[in-house]
Amino acid sequence: MKVLVPVKRVIDYNVKVRVKADGSGVDLANVKMSMNPFDEIAVEEAIRLKEAGKADEVVAVSIGVKQAQETLRTALAMGADRAILVVAADDVHTDIEPLAVAKILKGVVDEEQPGLVLCGKQAIDNDMNATGQMLSALMGWSQATFASEVDIDGDSATVTREVDGGLQTIKVKMPAVVTVDLRLNEPRYASLPNIMKAKKKPLDEKTAADYGVDASPRLEIVKTTEPEARAAGIKVGSVDELVEKLKEAGVV
């Protein structure tokens, strides 16, 4: 079975994000970029499936600007076998919307015929949480979202999902789209031999047009603002005072 893992190049989770002066978005110039952490978990899971003999090839795909090549090299250094870069924008500030990404991914899936698409449940830059679901709809495949455990058994997969209030276990037919959550695994570091091998692994470059998809934005960003700064708290001296303050605040 072949596993396809879409990965997104996003602003590094350690970076303190700054809004551009004109409010049109977040400043990405000279900012450290990394693989979306949820996608890293998806790559790790795919590699583990391969190590367990349940997958025979792991293909990473990224849709975005040319620089997403670095993100794919990271996936290759972790252990993916090959990579596909779909260039769909020139400006690093252009975010390709989920539907366009899902349509391009459908094109990739049609070509590659994977038995499983493993992707992050959402990207940490815009938190859309939509691409995996849209892809499954476009393909007519089963979907299992927010996976914290994945067990592939021939024609079906048993997936434990992190839902509000607990865990839900479902069984889906393969092929399927599985979106992964934080607790599925702990991604490995890229080993030195794999870093050195990554450059020699194939990385195909395509464009959105190759899949007949128009990736231009449909959403208009009206405004981007910094979150409101949190006001300083106060220390209370006793339980009585705490209750008093909570009453004042109208919460009890």
Partner: protein
């Protein structure tokens, strides 16, 4: 000219950086508090480094290393420099000088060191022989076919965890027009060898947990098979293989300075006095400007000296410049950061006081600042006859 890193180099940096942040930082307080690295923790760091293929990455592939060149290795060490030396010691980088091993020595010392099965330590310094290496008193004399060694070595880093030692010992004296000059030989000595003892050394203000030890030789018999390189060829192996180790000190100083600087920058942006962030006061902001300028300068100077080695160019003067500049830069950056933190910087609640203490030794070991300045100035003035 290209100052950018390749994709591989970016990934090497990012892997080692994550490793240090996740596997080293969380244990630093423990090491500071106890002055020890628990052996299970040491083994865990070593195992993870082996799994990642980074163990002995400075060794060529034909002996089982990763074959990194000097520049790539400098990037690895720069990131390691961010973390506690007591802990990153187990991100093993055996001494390159082991490449001088021949015949059975390869099976007994070189290969097990690269595989992480045996750890090494280098012993040169003596109580009476610091910068003046030839002043050493530890002496080996011929007795039958063997050497009999007597003397003391001290400040031997990593000796507490070493399974064997590369020890420089005087094996004779030449009369020269400038007076007597000792001949030096490098020996391989196993821990536990009769007549050889490893003792705890001194309490150091820098790098707590990265212990220094004393080595005692009392009528210790060593056969010729233990000679590394040639008899009386100690300076040859030293000059061939220890040449580059000063880059380690420079590059680790750069890594640590960057970590320290991040504290200074964040604190300057957050701490408020007189109704505004202290970073808005020129007294603080100009310190920030000076610090980052010096850090970048030291970084480029160091990487350029490693690059020169890879190109086969002369690098002795450049390495000396990098070592003296990077270590003095670290002294300034840690001191200035402490000043920005004020009284809080002296408290062990923040790692600033530790960076400040740790920085002090960098200007002393692996050739003092004075020795580096001597190397730099002699390389320029000697050709002019001065």
């Amino acid at each position: 000219m290209n100052f950018g890193l390749s994709d591989e180099q970016e990934m090497i940096v990012s892997t080692v950086r994550s490793f240090v942040e996740n596997e080293i930082y969380p244990h630093e307080d423990l090491v500071e508090r106890t002055g020890e690295v628990p052996s299970d923790l040491a083994q865990e760091i070593k195992r993870k480094t082996l799994d990642l293929g980074f163990y002995a990455c400075n060794f060529p592939e034909e002996v089982g290393g990763a074959g990194l060149n000097h520049l790539d290795f400098a990037l690895v060490e720069r990131e390691l420099g961010r973390g506690s030396m007591a802990l990153t010691h187990f991100f093993g980088r055996p001494q390159n000088i082991l490449m001088a091993c021949e015949g059975e020595q390869r099976e007994k010392y070189l290969l097990p060191a690269v595989r992480g099965e045996r750890m090494d330590a280098l012993a040169m310094t003596e109580p009476e022989a610091g910068s003046d290496v030839r002043g050493m008193r530890c002496t080996a004399v011929r007795d039958g076919g063997d050497w009999v060694v007597n003397g003391t070595k001290h400040f031997i880093s990593g000796a507490d965890h070493a399974d064997f030692f590369i020890v420089f010992i005087a094996t004779g004296v030449d009369e020269t027009p400038k007076g007597p000059k000792k001949r030096i030989t490098a020996f391989l000595v196993d821990r536990g060898h009769p007549g050889f003892e490893v003792r705890d050394g001194y309490q150091s203000v820098s790098h707590r947990g990265y212990k220094n030890c004393v080595l005692e030789f009392t009528d210790c018999r060593l056969p010729d098979a233990q000679v590394l390189g040639e008899v009386d060829g100690g300076f040859d192996v030293m000059n061939t293989w220890l040449y580059a180790t000063r880059i380690t000190v420079a590059t680790m100083s750069v890594g640590r300075a960057r970590r320290c600087f991040d504290y200074a920058l964040d604190y300057a942006a957050e701490r408020k006095q007189f109704g505004q962030q202290i970073g808005k006061f020129q007294g603080v902001s100009f310190q920030i400007a000076d610090m980052i300028t010096e850090i970048d300068a030291a970084d480029y100077l160091t990487l350029a000296s490693a690059w020169r080695l890879d190109q086969g160019l002369d690098a002795n003067r450049e390495i000396a410049s990098a070592k003296v500049y990077a270590t003095e830069m670290l002294a300034h950056v840690t001191d200035a950061t402490l000043q920005i933190f004020g009284g809080m910087g002296l408290m062990s609640d923040f790692p600033i006081e530790r960076f400040w203490r740790d920085a002090r030794v960098e200007r002393i070991w692996d050739g003092t600042s004075e020795i580096q300045r001597h190397i730099i100035s002699r390389s320029l003035l000697r050709p002019l006859g001065a």
